[in-house]
Amino acid sequence: MQETFWQKRLRDVAAVLVVGIFMFPLFWWALTSFKPTSAIFDKDGIVWFNFKPTLVNYQVTMLGKSRAELAIESGNTFGVGGASSYDSRQTIIDSLIVAVGATALTVLLAVLASYALSRMRFYGRQAYLNWILSQRFMPPIAIIVPVVFMFHYMSLLDTRLGLIIVDTLINLPIAVLLMKSFYDDVPVDVDEAAMIDGASRLQIFWRVVLPMVKGGVAATAVLCFIFSWTEFLLSLFLTNSIRTLPVKITTFVTSTGSEWGFIAALGTTAVIPSFIFILLVQKQLVRGLTLGSLKE
């Protein structure tokens, strides 16, 4: 089934076309973030490239300038208004703290638990694994009302720690599954050799096995980071003053109109860290995503 020359070219064209279609929304989004309001809403039609690029949207969301200031600087008073609530610097810091915290906690717990699940034989192991995985099937909305009450009593409502805890809970099942499949790839002989040398389990885990699954830990961490970074429903219910990025961005849609320029600027900024991370761990992730289902 060798491809002929023209079949190859056909595949090339189709592949580029398909990927291009999927990239278009990202491209359009980035383009919008550099447009002035007048180019986003042009009554004569869609503006592609015939606009004067501006950094106003980034200055407002990332540097906390108010639009009145910018208007005075540029002498253009079109569309002046809007308070400093578009300043998103605190949001980004909060989102980072929550995502990094949840990632650290998830990876710590998952690395420990999946080691035991991969290496130790104990009664009810499969049932226990299924129980952890079953947490993934639970819609977060099913527990959100009681969690709000619980957090209220524990003073965790509207705190970063509270978000870290629930994000960890949501991420754990997939992290355990991923880490277990990476551990399973390390032959048990390695453990046994160390055991004969008199190492304890903890030593084996820390000195021998963990260094061998470093790539897997990185892939798991990236996945957890992305999940926490993009999480929407939980932060919507559990926070009020602390806003993570996805929630903050939806507040830019107001009853008096949506600030599409700011939305696009913040949205573009929001995806950049994840893009970098996912490209870094591409290989491990593809392997991990099959979750060991390819093994017989």
């Binding site: 130790m120 947490q135 527990i143 939305i263 099959t290 289902s293």
Partner: protein, 313 residues
């Protein structure tokens, strides 16, 4: 699926040959699974299992909207649920959404994976680019498509209109009959890459020999696909459908951001209805009841699927 099976921690670990003096009881040492599993179990019990039981308990209370007190009345919310037309509408939307999105994403994902499964130069980059939509926060994706599907300023909607593919008097998201389609579009854009990733991993792991043998026997490309590739991928396809299906069933972000369940209740799903009850009516017991009902449907549907297709983790 959310069972309350507490694992027995009886252990059968090979113990090292040299006997050591132990200051700690055995189940607290690293030779025993207990210390490894205790933290994660505690966290899940405290913030996963306990809230679930709490939600069940809460669903047995009737909220008095005037006094704002919850009165014990075990059948009130569940009776209300089954008589609530909006719940049945939401179930319809949820299943319609899940099944449509799942079939489109699966077929597209498989097709694109086959297309990109080539070792020639540049395909690695294309595959990497293909994963990018996955990491965009769903709420941002929703906003993106909200702008692009806008009736007068959206690039997709005006593009479709000018190509004559869409009647201009029906803005996609603002018409009750097509709003769900708009939300689906965002979902498909974001999650088809997930299917592509999984299918690619599956394709890469396939053994080469059967295909070589088939080629020698003169099999056509389509024969090789339907007789070899598809059956060998069936296991991973079933797993992907399960994972994606469960996620689709609890769709919230896109609906909340793009249409807020509207116009009217045209895109109201079970999760978004529960959210509405929570935020707008502050009827927490009823919101809990709807959420639990959603969970129940997820469990029933996914167990049926697991039984039917014999999915194994």
């Amino acid at each position: 699926m959310v069972s309350n099976q507490v694992p027995s921690l009886a252990v059968d670990v090979p113990v090292s040959e040299t006997p050591r003096r132990r200051a700690w009881p055995r189940f607290l040492t690293s030779e025993h699974p207990f210390p490894w599993l205790a933290p994660i179990t505690a966290l899940i019990l405290a913030f996963g299992v306990y809230p679930l039981l709490y939600a069940l308990w809460l669903s047995f209370f009737k909220r008095n909207p005037v006094t704002r007190l919850n009165v014990f009345n075990p059948t009130w919310n569940w009776g209300k649920l089954f008589a609530d037309d909006r719940v049945w509408g939401a179930i319809g939307h949820t299943y319609l959404y899940t099944v449509t999105a799942l079939s489109i994403e699966l077929c597209l994902g498989l097709a694109i994976a086959l297309l990109l499964d080539s070792d020639r130069k540049g395909y690695g980059l294309l595959r990497a680019l293909m994963t990018l939509p996955l990491v965009v926060p769903p709420a941002v994706t929703g906003m993106m498509f909200l702008l692009m599907l806008d009736g007068s300023f959206g690039v997709i909607s005006t593009g479709l209109v000018s190509l004559g593919l869409w009647p201009p008097q029906h803005p996609i998201l603002a018409s009750g009959s097509t709003a769900l389609l708009g939300v689906l579009l965002a979902d498909i854009w974001q999650w088809t890459p997930f299917m592509v990733l999984i299918m690619l991993a599956g394709l890469r792991a396939l053994p080469k020999e059967p295909f070589e043998a088939a080629a020698i026997d003169g099999a056509t490309t389509s024969q090789a696909f339907f007789r070899l590739t598809l059956p060998m991928l069936s296991k991973i396809i079933a797993l992907a459908v399960l994972i994606r299906g469960v996620d689709l069933f609890r769709i919230y972000d896109y609906v909340k951001v793009m249409t807020d369940s509207g116009p009217g209740t045209a895109t109201e799903t079970l999760t978004s209805y529960a959210g509405t009850i929570y935020f707008k009516n502050a009827d927490f017991p009823y919101a809990s009841t709807i959420s639990l009902f959603t969970l129940l449907l997820v469990i029933i549907t996914s167990s049926l699927f697991i039984k039917l297709f014999k999915v194994r983790f």
